[in-house]
Symmetry: C2
């Protein structure tokens, strides 16, 4: 099947670019030094590709992601890197992990989340530490106390995590490196109080600024990067050597005067980082099912396929049912986006 | 089941507010004078409620919406108000409509879309006319010629449509009314050239600015409003007497310092109109699975449910699997959002 026969709008992955991204990251952060974040693609088939590149531990953002990974038999050390109070869902996570013989660790950052993990029969928790990103995460000087509470409840505490999300897009790399080291110093301080084998952190934007190994004073055990797999127009600005592998492919359905309209709209895109891009074109606006654009450099025929580059990959992929894998213009596979929702 | 037992994030509908919105609109635009747009809710159970309020003709934005409505047996006169070139999907529409004995009309705005409808065995088309919104739609002075082409292909042409989307949010209502009349004058001019029984237009923002009836010089046959059912924070600014019936309900999963975090993020919201709102709170930022906020007026407990008002309902609903219908704090029904995707 040729790419022009795919029903649109469609989430299309360039197989070669994806492969190069996977190889490149596996060379930089091999094996367990990368804990790929599945929230970036929500696709167990793609996660299995990451396993084929040597990574067996994964990061998840939702219970459904963890349960879906276990059900698909992908990965053997899963970290639910989120504060979850839903005891029913956590029980599903714990039960699935136990019956599959998989490690499922759950992040906790409060007495309440520890209590929920305990009630759900979760075996292993990690203390989530605030290293400067104002979201979840306990104060670094509170982490040891939480670890004590967890251990008193009979939970195993395997370490700490701290996401320096506020530093992912610092374009001055020497400034970024310095601030990452400061954040990791906080995380390692918390780890001193908590104990355990794991110090987990990071994302694509900072993956190259971390030292792996706890013998280094600000070193960590693993980096939770996810966006490197696809890369969006925002991450592309960091020029980290990864390629934009995902485009949303649309069809030109109307051409009136100077404007073109394609069948890719808000409902096929994550719009939180703003409008998507089309090479050599100027986006006028997106509506539910359309993007209207003009171009002084190119002309399009009605019926022609157009590649749209999303500004933010993660929420874009979460809007689609499947990834169309394309190599040299031919569809070579279709992968369900099976980890969507909660 | 109490609202506090719903797993979050969840798309929750206040049954009383929904009922008042449906009644209010049915009183203003009864029966066939309203052609409700299903893109606003993508839910055949909700569309069946619109049928119960007297409306039997519907507007759809995608082939899947049309096919889903036919499969559910809801409505008997469906308009696919979009330019579609996908002959396979249009064939599905035509086949489903024929076997169910339902009218499925398809909008066309070019020779190419007419050709696709013809090849798909579509029986009935409507000429989509540009009345000032720069998206799909033929030039008004080109509409009659397109109708001729369609009739030469053996298609029945049942009228015109023209969406004045650029006027939905004009806050000065006398200015809005004047500009709507100008747009409808263009549409009626096109209708003079095209013929047929239907002159379809409009949305929630202009539903009260149209005259129903072709005897009036700028009158129309039906208004394609959809957002009145739920209303978002943007439409609420028009004060049209409809209520915000939809909220995305989240759980407070973290509280550190002055900030709260709930489990409602980008992947549960349409973000194209900006951040959502929480009553008496200040939104800091949304990330994939979280919204971080503060409040100088309220305090929250970890585990407490919070109602988030989306800035744009249509793309928000398209992110969820079901609507939870709540009356006085009790869940009284769950409706699948079964018209999602394309």
């Amino acid at each position: 099947m040729h790419i022009d026969a795919i029903p649109t709008p469609a989430a299309v992955v360039d197989a070669s670019a994806l492969s190069r991204n996977l190889q490149s990251m596996a060379a930089r952060l091999p094996g367990s030094s990368l804990r790929p974040h599945v929230k970036a693609h929500k696709c167990t088939t793609l996660a299995a590709q990451q396993v084929a590149h040597g990574h067996r531990s994964f990061t998840c953002a939702t219970p459904r992601e963890v349960i879906g990974m276990i059900t698909a038999g992908v990965g053997d050390d899963l970290l639910l890197a989120n504060s979850v109070l839903d005891v029913d869902r956590l029980t599903e996570v714990a039960t699935a992990a136990e019956s599959a013989g998989v490690i499922a660790r759950v992040a906790v950052d409060s007495v309440e989340t520890i209590e929920a993990a305990h009630r759900a029969g979760v075996g292993d928790v990690i203390i989530d530490v605030d290293v400067g990103m104002p979201r979840c995460g306990a104060r670094p000087d509170h982490a040891g106390q939480l670890a004590d509470v967890a251990r008193q409840r009979g939970l195993s505490v395997s370490g700490v995590m701290g996401y320096e999300g506020h530093l992912q897009m610092v374009s001055d790399r020497s400034e970024a490196k310095e601030r990452v080291a400061e954040a990791m110093s906080l995380l390692r301080g918390a780890h001193d109080d908590v104990g355990g084998d794991i110090v987990s952190t990071g994302g694509t934007g900072t993956h190259d600024l971390h030292t792996i190994g706890l013998d280094h004073p600000t070193g960590v055990t693993d980096v939770q990067a996810g966006s490197y797999v696809m890369v969006d127009t925002q991450y592309a600005t960091l020029n980290q050597g990864f390629e934009q592998a995902l485009t949303i492919v649309g069809t030109v359905i109307a051409h009136h005067g100077s404007r073109y309209v394609i069948d890719v709209g808000l409902k096929a895109l994550g719009m939180d980082h703003g409008d998507p891009s089309i090479d050599d074109c100027k986006i006028w606006f997106c509506s539910d099912e359309h993007t209207t654009f003009t171009s002084s450099e190119r002309t399009f025929q009605i019926g022609e396929r157009v590649h749209v580059r999303p500004a933010h990959v993660d929420p874009t992929i979460a809007r689609h049912e499947e990834l169309w894998i394309v190599d040299n213009g031919e569809v070579i596979d279709r992968w369900p986006i099976d980890l969507r929702h909660w």
